[in-house]
Symmetry: C2
């Protein structure tokens, strides 16, 4: 009677992502997020955005996410939200910032939209690392919503570090590839 | 290997919510959202927030949501997000604003946080109706995140009507009851 919602990553991710290797640098981590965003286009399993959650110190990969809005008919399933949900499901914790846990970070192939920026705050990550920026998303007509400089300040004041522009050009190239292939651009 | 996420409403909702009756006024609709927020506390199935999606003109109830953050270990599952996801699952559409659909509205027992405000934009609703406000949530230590007057203006400029303070006192009473019972206050 009441709908049930099931969120499952595309099947290709299991073979595509190496959960055993280490991701020491911000660039290593971002390259995974960008590779996910690109592969999600090539496999036609969603929008051009990828994300991942890591243990900040060790670089251990905890979870990944890709945009699944269109295939799962769910406008909340941006790459960041999916990665954060998957991390919490894996750790069986509604916070990635619990006292018993190591610090976690969200790495995303593009600056978060208003929804995902808010979700990062509630998820308990200590750092958000971004690739392409709001203008790069806007260039292919993706709206990031009501995100202002004060929005990032709000996170920073609560102890969340924000890093922009890691491998920006590579991340932007993926967005441009998506537009070139006439992928669905959806803003609500 | 990869986690699967399943989102299911608490079992009591099936008997509690009448999907057949009509909800003509904003107050009728808000009373349902508030009743859900209160019952979610009494049944101990999550936080003190409820929401529902309606067809704006007819008052037909499409979906309901309650805060499920703690029981489902998922910090994105605010009442609004759950209601919006359930509506999209029921209609099998990633937008509630499609040309073939009637206008939809989100009714929430409390002003949306930054994440849920953004989610409302992407969900395709044409109106957001709120009960308690940010200060009422803050009174019991719930943070609404980086929501500014400009955030609401952003929605309004995109054709989304926002109505605040419907049955505010009733909605606030539920928040106070939750604090009085020492419910979990989680902000990430």
């Amino acid at each position: 009677m009441l709908p049930r919602i099931e969120i499952v990553l595309p099947a290709w991710i299991d073979a595509f992502v190496d959960f055993e290797r280490s991701y020491p640098s911000a660039e290593d981590r971002m390259r995974l997020a960008i590779d996910l965003s690109r592969e999600n286009i090539l496999r036609e399993t969603g929008g051009p955005f990828g994300g991942a959650v890591f243990e900040a110190e060790t670089g251990r990969l905890v979870s990944v996410g890709v945009n699944l809005v269109v295939p799962l008919n769910n406008s909340a399933l941006h790459g960041e939200i999916v990665a954060l949900m998957m991390a919490q499901a894996r750790l069986q914790s509604y916070s990635l910032g619990g006292a018993a846990l190591p610090a976690h970070e969200l790495v995303t192939s593009c600056d978060p939209c208003a929804m995902c920026l808010g979700a990062s705050l509630w998820a308990g990550v200590k750092r958000v690392v971004c690739g392409a920026n709001r203008d790069d998303a806007g260039e292919i007509m993706f709206d990031e919503g009501p995100v202002f400089p004060e929005s990032y300040e709000y996170l920073i004041e609560r102890g969340i570090e924000v890093v922009h522009g890691v491998l920006r050009n590579e991340a932007r190239e993926v967005l441009r590839m998506y537009a070139h292939r006439s992928g669905t651009i959806y803003n609500g």
